[in-house]
Symmetry: C2
Subunit: 230 residues, 2 copies
DNA sequence: TTGACAAACAAACGTTTGTTTGAGTACGAT
DNA sequence: ATCGTACTCAAACAAACGTTTGTTTGTCAA
């Protein structure tokens, strides 16, 4: 689909990437304090944790910072690319490029949503000042896009709307392993993800004020997999 | 407002409650692995961490379990009380009692949202099987309420809607300390909370189909329930 | 006073943590 | 061959971790 959302290479090209991949999975699953550098080293294929300090002299915190920056940049550049393509310019019904792009990247990199959700909850001295700095461009971008969309919201409500959309889209993937135990179906399975994609489209259309999404012929809402009948 | 949402007593009546209060604040702020039993003991007024094991022989994990159960039960009983009062019975526009009740309890206990958000992300062997067990009643309750409300959603979409509403309502308070650095205003201040309360009311009204403020009269989305395949 | 019990204390347990040191290996350039 | 660089490794470090042990204090009943 979208060539922008490039998944991680199955085989990391460098040891630095292998370390970042291993750290991303571990940090997303257990958080900064729940991961030991020995685990990261072992997952990356190193037999000794001391080798990590050659690639990241800053130690564990530097690895964490690099993982976070890489993940947030991926999302930010994706949204920025959709905006440069001219999506959602005064037309609230055309939010699909943004949603599909984010969806694709969250599916391709299954640890990203949980990693960012965790980092948002963190209040360590480092995350407290690094997270806002890394998220500022993405946040400003989102508010500007919602501003141009022209929904039924006042300017003072746009920050609330931006935060709500973030929680709406990322929350499903971040809490997938918990939802798996609550729902009758694995939320990461193909049909569940497809259903969530349609759900988000409808929910976002309702929220940002797409007056009649199904009125326009060929739009995404009416023609889903739900029309499948035996 | 709602007398149901009773805040924690300012002065804990027992040492056990003092430990739980201290642990709730610490666990919400730094997570299970980011908190030491020495910190909890000190915050609870104990000069020695060994005293914790007298009140909680199960150690750190038992304290964590008790904190989680207390928090989840508070939310569950609140929603159950609203349901017994007969709110939202076939009338999607009457969701305010639920929203205001949850809002009041999340304001009165500022660590609850972050604590639950963190626990949802956890995948330790304990949380992996305890969280679903503790959340099952609340989840079933939420889905049943949404079912009775009769919104524009199909039954297969109700789990997605329930999860979305949870993320929508709890996410704002859970990420408050991050939003504080991104927004021009403290999200926990009185005007910001009031604005968020109105925002959530409007958003929920849009999502569960309360009179469809901008939608054309004809139930564009809700038409596809049974009569769709006529 | 005596016995009993809950509660808080000090000290130490063994383990794991992040990090550092120094020696060793592979390899292209000189 | 020899140097220099990039990289990995084993071993060890101090600090912090959760937990246990043994003792002391306070309190109520007999």
């Amino acid at each position: 689909m979208s060539a922008v959302a490039a998944p991680l290479p199955q085989t990391p090209v460098s040891m630095r990437d292998a370390i970042l991949d291993a750290a991303e999975a571990r940090f997303a699953g257990a958080g900064f304090d729940g991961v030991s550098v020995r685990e990261i080293a072992a997952d990356a294929g190193l037999k000794n944790q001391a080798s990590l300090y050659h690639h990241f002299p800053g130690g564990k915190q530097a690895i964490y910072a690099a993982v976070l920056a890489r993940g947030i940049d991926a999302i930010t550049e994706l949204v920025a690319a959709s905006e440069r393509a001219g999506s959602l310019r005064g037309d609230p019904a055309a939010a699909s490029p943004y949603l599909d792009g984010v969806f694709d990247v969250l599916i391709a990199r299954p640890h990203l949503a949980r990693l960012m959700h965790r980092a948002a909850l963190d209040d360590s001295p480092y995350a407290r000042d690094a997270m806002p700095r890394m998220l500022q461009p993405l946040y400003a971008l989102g508010v500007r896009i919602l501003q141009d969309a022209g929904g039924p919201w006042q300017p003072s409500e746009l920050p609330h709307l931006a935060a709500a959309l973030y929680h709406l889209i990322f929350g499903y993937f971040a809490d997938a392993s918990l939802l798996q135990a609550l729902l009758p179906e694995d939320p990461r399975s193909a049909p569940a993800v497809a259903r969530q994609r349609l759900f988000i489209r409808k929910a976002v259309a309702l929220l940002i004020g797409a007056a009649a999404p199904v009125a326009a012929p060929g739009t995404m809402l009416g023609a889903g997999k739900e029309s499948h009948r035996a």
